[in-house]
């Protein structure tokens, strides 16, 4: 097997969130608590979890868009977290991002041709005429017409704007694209268009995706490997067939049970089983034991006392004292 393109070890991210009172101790929110994963070239790793589970922070810290407070990241033989600024800037062209909201992630004052060209300008790739031709090609690649290059973002629909974001991400021929919930703001019919496009581009250019989503259907469609996150930790890590056929962590099972499916019918009296109660607990005062214990449908005494470490169970890695069989 080849070496991973991106390899993350014991990644930690904390944020300062002010003090408790004027003379209180400064408080820290531990958003990412010791995350490990490997992303192989040409593959897609999904980071799944609820809002607040730390999936976006993990991805952004892995490509140094958020400062990590600990851990190591290897990208293509470079130690990303310790690279000097100038060297890091050279790596940026290999690391691109597609954001969730296609409305706020495009500059409303720039023509979309300029939006897509900007990474080339910033990285000083080729000459102006070559860049223009490249932008034209990119528009074709993502299913837009070159004559649309002179329009402004507000003249496009949500799906078209996401195509523009994809073209911008592709501009510098990156090797890794972080896709941060790229379809969750789109209508279902448009979602399918964008997902198919992302997969086609992956095949064509051998791209690797770090794909953030809370929608398990989307993840199952596009990801090869999946890391399920809960309160800043990976609680289950497996390849797609294993995760979806044998979910081991109760939280993964809950996510699967929660997602709507065409197979569950009101007419046949469908009742959901084992749903979690309440919301994600506050990351400010984490429990001593398993972070999921407060919502877990199969919690036992040991879970509240001792935090489970990620360990191998069958073909999965799972952080649970009592994994499902």
């Amino acid at each position: 097997m080849s070496d991973p393109l991106l390899s993350v070890r014991n990644l930690q991210v904390s944020f300062d969130v002010g003090r408790k009172g004027l003379f209180g101790k400064p408080q820290q929110l531990r958003a990412v608590r010791g995350v490990d994963f490997d992303l192989m070239p040409g593959r897609t790793l999904g980071l799944v979890g609820e809002s607040g589970s730390g999936k976006t922070t993990t991805a952004m810290a892995a490509i140094r868009l958020t400062a990590a407070t600990g851990g190591a990241v290897q990208f293509d033989g470079h130690d990303l977290l310790s690279l000097p600024e100038g060297e890091m800037r050279k790596q940026r062209k290999h690391l691109q991002v597609i954001f969730q909201d296609p409305y706020s992630s495009l500059n409303p004052r720039d023509r979309v041709g300029a939006v897509v060209r900007e990474p080339l300008d910033l990285m000083d790739v080729g000459d102006p005429a070559g860049r223009e031709a490249r932008v034209r090609d990119l528009f074709g690649l993502v299913g837009l017409r070159p004559d649309q290059m002179s329009l402004f973002p507000h003249q496009f629909s949500g799906g078209q704007r996401q195509r523009i974001s994809i073209a911008r991400a592709l501009a510098t021929n990156p090797r890794l694209i972080v896709c941060d919930e790229p379809v969750s703001a789109l209508d279902v019919a448009i979602q399918a268009q964008i997902l198919n496009l992302l997969r086609r581009l992956q095949d064509e250019f051998g791209l690797s995706y770090l794909f953030i989503s809370h929608d398990l259907g989307v993840v199952q469609f596009i990801c090869d490997d999946i890391a399920v996150m809960y309160l800043g930790e990976i609680v289950e890590y497996a390849d797609r067939p294993t995760l979806f056929s044998k979910p081991r962590h109760p939280y993964t099972a809950v996510l699967l049970e929660a997602a709507p499916s065409l197979k569950r019918r009101k007419s046949s009296g469908y009742q959901r089983e084992g749903m979690v109660k309440g919301d994600l607990p506050s990351p400010m005062n984490l429990p001593k034991g398993c972070a999921f214990a407060s919502r877990c449908p199969v919690v036992q005494d040991r879970c509240r006392a001792q935090a489970p470490a990620l360990r191998e169970v069958g073909d999965s890695r799972v952080a649970c004292h009592f994994p499902l069989s």
């Binding site: 609820e50 259907g217 469609f221 709507p260 009101k266």
Partner: protein
């Protein structure tokens, strides 16, 4: 069974800078007591306007109900006076919206906001209303209801806020609850909790629900019957099972096909095949021609489709497509 809410050949038009456009055209549907009716389609298909019309809330200006009848419990409320509509809204007909943060007032406690609705519709004292609020918060599964009643909306999570909205909506025992994309802004686990709560409330109080969504999975799980809308018209309608198992309109097939399949059935080691796509986008209302509005995006479209709009005709269920017979 007499329908609880009935729209007959409803037409709603809006004045825009492109002139007068038709947002709803010939929409007829019934909501029966105690059932859940789903209305499904992409953004811009007229789902929300249909819901607003049921509540007498089409904004005027720029909107006008120019044709058709809206009946609630046998009463024609199409042009009912504002006073009568105010009695119905929040009383017999209640609504919950997509974004619970913007539908709650940030400067009042949630308890005050729920009791306001109760005091408007029921002749009871403030103390009695306050007790009702606590009971309602308990009914919708909010822990420590006495304490939470004193919370402001920003102190609650998205799921809690939607529960507050549901508590407010059911405070006067409505016969009809209209839910406009109630879970779109929520996490999947919270969505499941809200759906479970809505089913529970229906079983307990027998309220009829109109669920507006773009997700066929939600339709399967939540509804008895469904109307599929496209560009301001109903293009297919029937029992949810029938529509999900035997869709006859290419648009309905597209909406079902474009959802990634989830779970053990799709856990094969092979790469999953590409999703069915509906190419393009919903056309702007001012550019609709005489033909089928879906023709631009339809693989089966021919000259006839572009020239002549198909009518809603009953095959095994009502569907508006020239090719419906061929598909079935």
């Amino acid at each position: 069974m007499t329908p609880l809410m009935s729209l007959r050949d409803l037409k709603v038009e809006f004045d825009t800078r492109h002139g007068r456009v038709t947002a709803l055209s010939g929409v007829s549907l019934d909501v029966r007591p105690g059932e859940t009716l789903g209305i499904v389609g992409e953004s811009g298909c007229g789902k929300s306007i249909t819901a607003l019309a049921m509540m007498g809330l089409v904004p005027n200006p720029p909107g006008h109900v120019t044709q058709g009848v809206i009946e609630f419990n046998g009463e024609d409320i199409t042009h009912a006076p504002a006073r009568r509509l105010q009695q119905l809204r929040g009383g017999d007909i209640a609504m919950i919206f997509q974004e619970p943060m913007t539908s709650l007032n940030p400067v009042f406690t949630v308890g005050d906001q729920i009791s306001e609705a109760i005091l408007l519709h029921q002749d009871i004292s403030k103390a009695e209303a306050a007790q009702q609020v606590i009971d309602l918060l308990d009914t919708v599964g909010i822990p420590e209801p006495e304490a939470r009643a004193k919370s402001y909306p920003h102190q609650l999570s998205g799921g809690m806020r939607q529960r507050v909205m549901i508590a407010m909506a059911i405070s006067c025992r409505p016969k009809l609850l209209i839910a406009d994309e109630p879970t779109t802004a929520l996490d999947v686990t919270v969505q499941a909790q809200i759906f479970d709560l809505m089913r529970e409330i229906q079983a307990k109080f027998g309220v009829a629900i109109v669920l507006i969504t773009h997700d066929m999975g939600a339709i399967a799980e939540m509804t008895d019957r469904v109307a599929v809308m496209y560009a301001g018209r109903i293009i297919e309608q029937g029992r949810s099972d029938e529509i999900l198992d035997n869709p006859m309109h290419p648009y309905t097939r597209g909406l079902i096909g474009c959802i990634p399949v989830l779970g053990r059935e799709a856990a094969s080691t092979d790469r999953l095949p590409p999703l069915a796509e509906i190419p393009g986008v919903v056309p702007p209302l001012h550019l609709l021609g005489d033909g089928c509005a879906f023709a631009e995006r339809c693989a089966l479209a021919d000259a006839n489709c572009r020239a002549q709009r198909p009518l809603l005709v009953v095959k095994s269920h009502p569907v508006a497509c020239h090719h419906a017979g061929v598909l079935a």
